[in-house]
C-alpha cells in the first residue's frame, strides 16, 4: 500500500451552491429609494436556495459530493453544523444521515450557534483518534436577512463539507488554536429570523484585529510556522479588506488571501470556512501551508499542510442567474402572495407511515427482484413484472444515484407549487425502475423525452399548520458546465 494512502488527515472537501443566483443589482433596484448606500455591495450575484432547499437538503448535497469523491469511505461519525437548522428538536443530522445512507451505528450530532462552529468541529476531528473511522463534517446555511439590510446583499445560501480519516489525505493538521470571547458583533435569538448587528468598524477593530489576530498568532507559534510561509490564508469576514488588514498585521503575504467568491455566491455563514478551505486546497501546491480561521464568539484557527494527493471531487458550476427579487422574498417566506385555494391543501404527515417505509423517502429505496432482476419503486411484496410476480423476493436498492431519463413530462400551470409551473413526469432509471416524479431546478422548456436526469434530495412539502416538512427526491437535468455558462435571464 502506498504510504500516502494511510495518512490521517483531511481526505476530501466539497462545496454545494444552489443553482439560483440572484443578481444583486435587482436587490438594489428594490431598495434604492430608501437604502441607496447598498449600491457599493450590489455587484455580482448571490446564491439563493430554491424553495425546496434548506440547510438539511444542502448538507445532503455536500455529503453526496464527498461520498462521490471518496466512494469507499464509510462514515462512522457525522456532524452537521448550521445556525439555520430546520428542526429545533429532531436530529437534523439524522435526516442527512438517512439520505446519505450512513450506517445506523454511526455517531451523529447537530452543532450550531456560531460562524466558527465548523472549524471547532474540524479541529476536533483532526485531533481525534486516527483509528476511529472516517468522520464527515457538513455545514449548511440558509440565513434570511431582513430586506434592505447589508446582510441581504452579503449572505449566500449553500453548504460545504469535509471528510477526515485515514487514507489518501489531501492535507494534514499542523496546529490548531481556539479562543472564546462573548464579543457580540451580531446575534439572533432562538426563534428569530433576522439577526441584529453592531457597527462593522468596531467588529473589525476589537474583534478581528485583536481576537482573530492573537488566535492565529498563537496557532502559527504552536505550529512553528512563520506567517510569511503561509501560502493560503482563509478567513470569512463580513467586510471587505478585513482579511487584508489581519494578514498585514500578522505578516501573511497579500497574495495568500483566498477569495470568498463574494461576487458569485455570497457568504455561507457557518459553512463559509469550509467552503473557502475547499477553494484554498484546490489551489494549493503540494507542501503548501494553509491557515484557515473563523471568527464568531471568539475565533478558531487551523494550520494545515497540503499533501501531493489531488483533491477529489468536483466544484460547483456557475448556476443560473435569477432576477426576481419578489420570488426571493416569497421563497424566504418574507411576503405572503395570493396562491389561491389549491395551496390550502393540508399536508399533514402520518408519522407512523413515514417511519414504516422510511428508507423509501430518505434513501429512495426501491426493490430489485432476486428472481427476475426487475427494479421497482416503491418496493412491494409481489414483483411488478407480470411474467414473474414472485413474492418477497425484492432486495433493497436505492435509486438516488442511478442515472435516469424522462419518459413523459408536463409543465403544469394549474397545480400549486411555490415555484410555478409545476413540472413533473415519468422517469425511467437506467437498469430498470420507473417513477412519477417532480422536477426541480428545471427551466420551462427544458424538458424533453429522453433528457438525462439525476436525483436530488429536497423538501417535498411544508406543513405550516404543524411546523413540519417532509423530504423526498426530485429529478433535475444533468447539465454540463458549458450549458450553465450560457444560461441567463429569469
Amino acid at each position: 500500500m502506498n504510504e500516502s494512502e494511510t495518512t490521517f488527515g483531511l481526505l476530501a472537501t466539497a462545496r454545494y451552491v444552489p443553482r439560483l443566483r440572484l443578481e444583486r443589482s435587482e436587490i438594489l433596484a428594490q431598495h434604492r429609494w430608501m437604502a441607496p448606500g447598498l449600491k457599493s455591495l450590489a455587484k455580482g450575484r448571490r446564491a439563493v436556495a430554491n424553495w425546496d432547499e434548506d440547510s438539511v437538503t444542502m448538507a445532503v448535497e455536500a455529503g453526496r459530493l464527498l461520498q462521490h469523491a471518496l466512494p469507499s469511505s464509510a462514515t462512522r461519525e457525522l456532524t452537521l453544523v448550521s445556525t439555520t437548522l430546520p428542526f429545533a428538536e429532531r436530529l437534523n443530522a439524522g435526516i442527512v444521515a438517512s439520505a446519505l445512507d450512513i450506517d445506523a451505528g454511526a455517531v451523529l450530532r447537530d452543532t450550531a450557534s456560531s460562524g466558527r462552529a465548523a472549524l471547532t468541529e474540524l479541529a476536533a476531528a483532526l485531533r481525534g483518534s486516527a483509528d476511529a473511522g472516517p468522520r464527515m463534517l457538513l455545514a449548511a446555511e440558509r440565513r434570511i436577512a431582513r430586506p434592505a439590510s447589508t446582510q441581504e446583499m452579503i449572505f449566500g445560501d449553500g453548504a460545504a463539507g469535509a471528510l477526515v480519516g485515514k487514507g489518501a489525505a489531501i492535507a494534514t493538521l499542523v496546529a490548531a488554536g481556539s479562543t472564546h470571547a462573548d464579543l457580540v458583533d451580531h446575534f439572533r435569538q432562538t426563534g428569530e429570523e433576522h439577526e441584529y448587528g453592531w457597527e462593522e468598524r468596531w467588529v473589525r477593530d476589537e474583534g478581528y484585529m485583536k481576537i482573530a489576530v492573537s488566535t492565529i498568532r498563537q496557532c502559527l507559534k504552536d505550529g512553528a510556522v512563520a506567517a510569511g510561509d503561509i501560502t493560503q490564508f482563509v478567513m470569512p469576514a463580513p467586510m471587505a479588506r478585513i482579511n487584508d488588514a489581519v494578514a498585514k498585521k500578522l505578516g501573511i503575504a497579500a497574495t495568500a488571501l483566498v477569495s470568498a467568491e463574494h461576487e458569485a455566491v455570497g457568504d455561507l455563514g457557518s459553512a463559509q470556512p469550509l467552503a473557502m478551505l475547499d477553494i484554498a486546497l484546490r489551489a494549493a501546491p503540494p507542501g503548501a501551508l494553509i491557515l484557515v480561521a473563523a471568527f464568531g464568539s471568539g475565533c478558531d484557527a487551523l494550520l494545515l499542510r497540503r499533501t501531493a494527493v489531488p483533491c477529489p471531487g468536483t466544484v460547483p458550476d456557475a448556476g443560473r442567474s435569477d432576477s426576481s427579487y419578489m420570488k426571493y422574498l416569497s421563497f424566504t417566506n418574507q411576503i405572503e402572495l395570493a396562491w389561491g385555494m389549491r395551496a390550502e391543501m393540508d399536508n399533514k404527515t402520518a408519522l407512523t407511515a413515514a417511519w414504516r417505509d422510511h428508507a423509501r423517502a430518505s434513501r429512495f429505496e426501491g426493490g430489485r427482484c432476486s428472481a427476475c432482476g426487475t427494479v421497482q419503486f416503491p418496493r412491494s411484496r409481489l414483483c411488478v413484472n407480470p411474467e414473474c410476480r414472485a413474492q418477497d423476493t425484492q432486495q433493497s436498492t436505492s435509486l438516488a444515484d442511478v442515472p435516469a431519463r424522462v419518459m413523459s413530462h408536463t409543465t403544469d400551470f394549474l397545480g400549486y407549487t411555490p415555484d410555478p409551473p409545476f413540472q413533473f413526469g415519468h422517469i425511467d432509471f437506467e437498469g430498470g425502475g420507473r417513477v412519477l416524479m417532480e422536477f426541480t431546478d428545471t427551466d420551462v422548456g427544458e424538458l424533453s423525452v429522453g433528457l438525462p436526469l439525476r436525483m436530488v434530495y429536497r423538501v417535498k412539502e411544508f406543513d405550516p399548520k404543524r411546523g413540519f416538512r417532509r423530504y423526498f427526491w426530485k429529478a433535475t437535468p444533468v447539465r454540463s458546465a458549458a450549458d450553465n455558462a450560457t444560461k441567463g435571464g429569469n
Partner: protein
C-alpha cells in the same frame, strides 16, 4: 364457462340532468332531476325498484359516504342500495353493479345513479386531495391535466410526430366537441370555437391549453335496468335496448412501475375493449361500432383512445381526426353529445351520461344531433391517470343487433 351479460340486461329508462355550473342546485336536486326523467321514461312506479347502485366519487366534497344520500334524496323505501366509487369511471361502475345484479337473477328492476356536485370547491378544476398517507410521502401532487398532458409528449416521441401536428389534431377534437354540444340543450359548454381559439388559449399543463380540457360540472345521470322480457312488457311501444358487454380493467401498477408501458396509450382501455368486443361478438370495431362516447377528459385522451379501441390504426389517429372520421357527419362519430369536454364532467355521473347518449341515439331521440345509423354504440369511461387507472367499456345496442 361464463360469457358475459350479452342481451341479458335491458335498459328500460334513463335520465340525465342538465350539466353545468348548477349554483342553485344541490346533489339532491340533480339526482331527482335525472331520476324523474328515468322513471317517466321507463313507465314504472318508483316502488318497483328493488335495489340501487349509487356512484359518487368525491364524497368529501359532496354528499358524504354510503348510499344513504341516494335513498334520502329519492325517499326509496328501505331497499338495498350500494355506494360505488372507481374515480371518474364511477358512473359505469354503478351501472355495472345494477346490470350484473339483474343478470344474476337476484332482482328484476334496479336503479343505477351517479351524481357529482363539483362546483362547491370555490375554484376551477378538480379539488386537491390526499392520495393516501403513504403515497403522499413520495407521489407528486399532480393535477389531472398534468397527468394526461404526458400522453402527448410520449405519443409524439413514440410515433415521431411533431407536437404542432399533434396539437392540431387535438384542436380539431375540441372544436368538434364544442360543435356537437352546441346542439345539446343539456350540455355545459355550448359555444362554438375555432382551431385558432384552441391553439391560442391559456396553457394549463403543457401541451394542454384551456380548450383541451373538459369542463368541471355539476350533474346527475341514471339508468333503470331490467330483463329484456320485462322491458318488452313495460314498453311494448318501444324497441328494447340491451347491454352487449360491460367490462372493467384496472391497472395493477405495471404501467406506473414496470418499464414496458410507452406512456402513449391507455393499457386498461385496450384490455377492457378487447374483453367487451369478445363478449359482444365484435371483430372489427372500426366498422361495427357505429358511434362511441369515450372519456375525452382532455383532447389528447380522446386521440389515444381511438387507437386503443381499434377505431384508428396505431400511429394513425392524427390523420383520422383531421380527415373528419370522428366528426358528427363522419364515418364513426365520437362524442356526438359534446363529451366530457362540453357536455361536462360531473365525475360520478359521467359514465351514465355516456350511456344516456348512446341510448338516445339508439332510440332516435337525439334531436338535432341524431346520427343516421346507430345499431351498436360504445362507451369508454376512465378513472384515474394514464399510468394508473380504471377503464370501463360498455357496448349497447338494439336487442338482437
Amino acid at each position: 364457462m361464463a360469457t358475459g351479460i350479452r342481451d341479458k340486461v335491458a335498459i328500460v329508462g334513463m335520465g340525465c340532468s342538465r350539466f353545468g355550473e348548477r349554483w342553485d342546485s344541490g346533489p339532491e336536486d340533480l339526482m331527482l332531476e335525472a331520476f324523474n326523467e328515468a322513471v317517466a321514461d321507463a313507465g314504472i312506479d318508483f316502488k318497483q325498484i328493488e335495489a340501487a347502485w349509487f356512484g359518487v366519487c368525491l364524497e368529501e366534497n359532496n354528499v358524504g359516504k354510503t348510499a344513504g344520500p341516494l335513498a334520502q334524496a329519492l325517499r326509496l323505501p328501505r331497499i338495498a342500495a350500494t355506494r360505488v366509487e372507481n374515480a371518474c369511471a364511477t358512473g359505469t361502475e354503478a351501472l355495472r353493479g345494477a346490470a350484473y345484479a339483474v343478470a344474476s337473477g337476484a332482482y328484476d328492476i334496479v336503479l343505477a345513479l351517479g351524481v357529482e356536485k363539483l362546483k362547491d370547491t370555490g375554484y376551477g378544476g378538480l379539488p386537491v386531495r390526499t392520495r393516501g398517507v403513504a403515497n403522499d410521502l413520495w407521489l407528486p401532487n399532480s393535477t389531472a391535466p398534468g397527468a394526461f398532458a404526458q400522453l402527448a409528449s410520449a405519443y409524439a416521441a413514440k410515433h415521431g410526430v411533431s407536437m404542432p401536428d399533434l396539437r392540431r389534431a387535438m384542436a380539431h377534437i375540441s372544436v368538434k366537441s364544442h360543435d356537437n354540444a352546441s346542439l345539446n340543450p343539456k350540455a355545459h359548454l355550448r359555444n362554438k370555437i375555432t382551431e385558432e381559439d384552441v391553439l391560442k388559449a391559456m396553457m394549463i399543463a403543457a401541451p394542454l391549453g384551456l380548450y383541451d380540457c373538459s369542463g368541471v360540472s355539476d350533474g346527475a345521470a341514471c339508468a333503470i335496468v331490467t330483463t329484456p322480457e320485462i322491458a318488452r312488457a313495460l314498453r311494448s311501444d318501444a324497441q328494447v335496448v340491451t347491454i352487449k358487454a360491460l367490462e372493467v380493467s384496472v391497472s395493477n401498477g405495471e404501467e406506473a412501475s414496470f418499464n414496458n408501458w410507452d406512456g402513449a396509450h391507455i393499457a386498461t382501455a385496450r384490455t377492457a375493449g378487447e374483453r367487451a368486443y369478445a363478449a359482444a361478438g365484435i371483430t372489427d370495431p372500426r366498422t361495427q361500432v357505429h358511434m362511441a362516447e369515450v372519456h375525452d377528459c382532455f383532447s389528447v385522451t380522446e386521440a389515444v383512445l381511438m387507437e386503443d379501441l381499434g377505431f384508428s390504426a396505431p400511429g394513425r389517429v392524427i390523420h383520422d381526426v383531421l380527415d373528419g372520421r370522428f366528426d358528427r357527419d363522419g364515418a364513426q362519430p365520437i362524442v356526438p353529445d359534446g363529451g366530457l369536454k362540453c357536455f361536462g364532467h360531473p365525475i360520478g355521473a359521467s359514465g351514465l351520461r355516456m350511456v344516456y347518449e348512446v341510448y338516445q341515439q339508439l332510440h332516435g331521440r337525439a334531436g338535432e344531433r341524431q346520427l343516421k345509423k346507430v345499431d351498436i354504440g360504445l362507451t369508454q369511461n376512465l378513472g384515474g391517470h394514464p399510468h394508473q387507472n380504471v377503464s370501463a367499456v360498455a357496448i349497447l345496442g338494439r336487442h338482437g343487433a
